[in-house]
């Protein structure tokens, strides 16, 4: 997951690699995702989120649809 200056830079990067654009997140969405995924990682009781928990996290920040489907 790379950071880009703007969408034109994303499209240029994809074009060079003959890839279609994936999904774009605002920095705030990425921060919410990072918090949900990692804020417990140092705790002894940490465990990897279940698919259901991961789906709920993604949905909570508006990441829904085929691209974010974890079950395909």
């Amino acid at each position: 997951m790379l950071l880009f200056r703007d969408e034109a830079h994303v499209d240029r990067w994809c074009g060079v690699r003959e890839m279609t654009r994936g999904a774009l997140l605002t920095p705030e969405q990425a921060w919410q995702l990072a918090q949900g995924w990692y804020k417990e990682k140092l705790k002894p009781e940490w465990r990897r989120p279940t698919v259901e928990e991961a789906e709920a996290l993604l949905a909570s920040i508006g990441l829904t649809g085929a691209f974010w489907n974890l079950r395909a």
């Binding site: 880009f4 969408e7 920095p27 990072a34 974890l70």
Partner: protein, 151 residues
């Protein structure tokens, strides 16, 4: 033996992540073995189980840890300064994840994936107070682990 290694995995996990958080450096098998007073072979077996569970990522073609996500074991363009230390993330998500895992204010610098120009993000008191750019996920979620290095 199997259950012993699984139990060791718990200790290895705590040591690896706490050491990475405390120092900015992800410990490798020999250091872990010495710290936990176990053989390197046992530690490598425990790391393999942790990697299979996607708790951390081993380097391709080797027995070293590449990333105890969100902490990257090798220098990257995703630099995080927090609590007076320097960390590396494997990607934009993980760089922010370091700030989240530490629960600390942080300054994150990263290059634009296209032009390489530097950008800065800052976390203060649990909020993203400064940001630039956008984050691109090139790979659909269900394919992230097909090639986690590219993802």
């Amino acid at each position: 033996m199997g259950s012993d290694i699984e139990a060791l995995g718990f200790d290895v996990r705590l040591y690896v992540f706490n050491e990475a958080a405390a120092t900015g450096h992800v410990p490798q098998p020999l250091q872990i073995a010495r710290a936990l007073r176990r053989s390197e072979a046992e530690v490598r077996a425990a790391l393999q189980i942790l990697a299979e569970g996607k708790t951390l990522i081993m380097a391709p073609n080797g027995g070293d840890i590449w990333a105890a996500s969100p902490f990257c074991a090798v220098p990257s363009g995703f630099r995080v300064h927090a609590a007076g230390k320097r960390y590396w993330g494997t990607c934009a998500w993980d760089a922010m994840g370091i700030a989240a895992a530490l629960g600390s204010d942080a300054q994150i610098t990263a290059p634009c994936g296209d032009c390489g120009s530097g950008m800065t993000l800052e976390v203060r008191q649990g909020r993203l107070e400064r940001s630039e750019g956008i984050i691109h996920f090139a790979v659909p979620a269900h394919h992230w682990w097909d090639n986690i290095g590219f993802t």
